[in-house]
Chain length 117, copies 2
């Protein structure tokens, strides 16, 4: 199904084999990186026009409005596309935790050891 995304924006997207671009989600005031989601043209269109961050779930193969179930919605403050068109930076005001585990961010529990000399 064709998306209603502005064709001028659609022309700038460099999608992966699955038709998706990575969306980095950042808390607009603190700068915390909250999560990474995935958007196709339609998810980006909905995000830009509804002001609620909307993603494509690769595992469930459906659109999801962040927080629709949990209440932990993301109010969109701004969206920017990167220089080569394959990543978005979505600045939001996150209600509650961004992670389904209850953590504030999806990276809180995943620190890896850097062993550089």
């Amino acid at each position: 199904m064709p998306s209603a995304l502005d064709p001028a924006i659609a022309a700038r997207l460099k999608r992966d084999a699955a038709g998706l671009v990575a969306a980095v989600v950042q808390q607009h005031d603190t700068g915390e990186v909250l999560m990474v989601g995935w958007m196709d043209d339609e998810a980006l269109h909905r995000t830009l026009t509804t002001g609620r961050a909307t993603y494509w779930s690769r595992s469930r193969r459906e659109y999801w409005v962040k927080g629709a179930t949990s209440g932990n919605v993301q109010h969109v403050k701004s969206v920017a596309l990167d220089c080569d068109g394959d990543a978005l930076l979505v600045r939001v005001d996150q209600v509650g935790g961004a992670c389904h585990t209850g953590d504030r961010t999806c990276f809180d529990a995943g620190e890896l050891e850097v062993t550089a000399p």
Copy 2:
């Protein structure tokens, strides 16, 4: 070629069809999101053990140490894996601009209009 990446870390990665995970790169002190790169196991191994952010170039199909040509290297401060294993948050000290255009970040020139009511 098998990578020397710690098998305990490798087991946590959920790679895309091309064997890659997204790497979100953030300036460690200001919180700026600088760019998004892509890492396979070996790029992550090199990033963790050399302290220089290293990516897989999907267009050139080769490893690249950020700044090897430009001098705009990224000194790695920390690396975290997200809750579902398909994205990394790499906190760095970025020398100079992160973007090949000369901009500080790869998102500086790409603001999209949010038309939400």
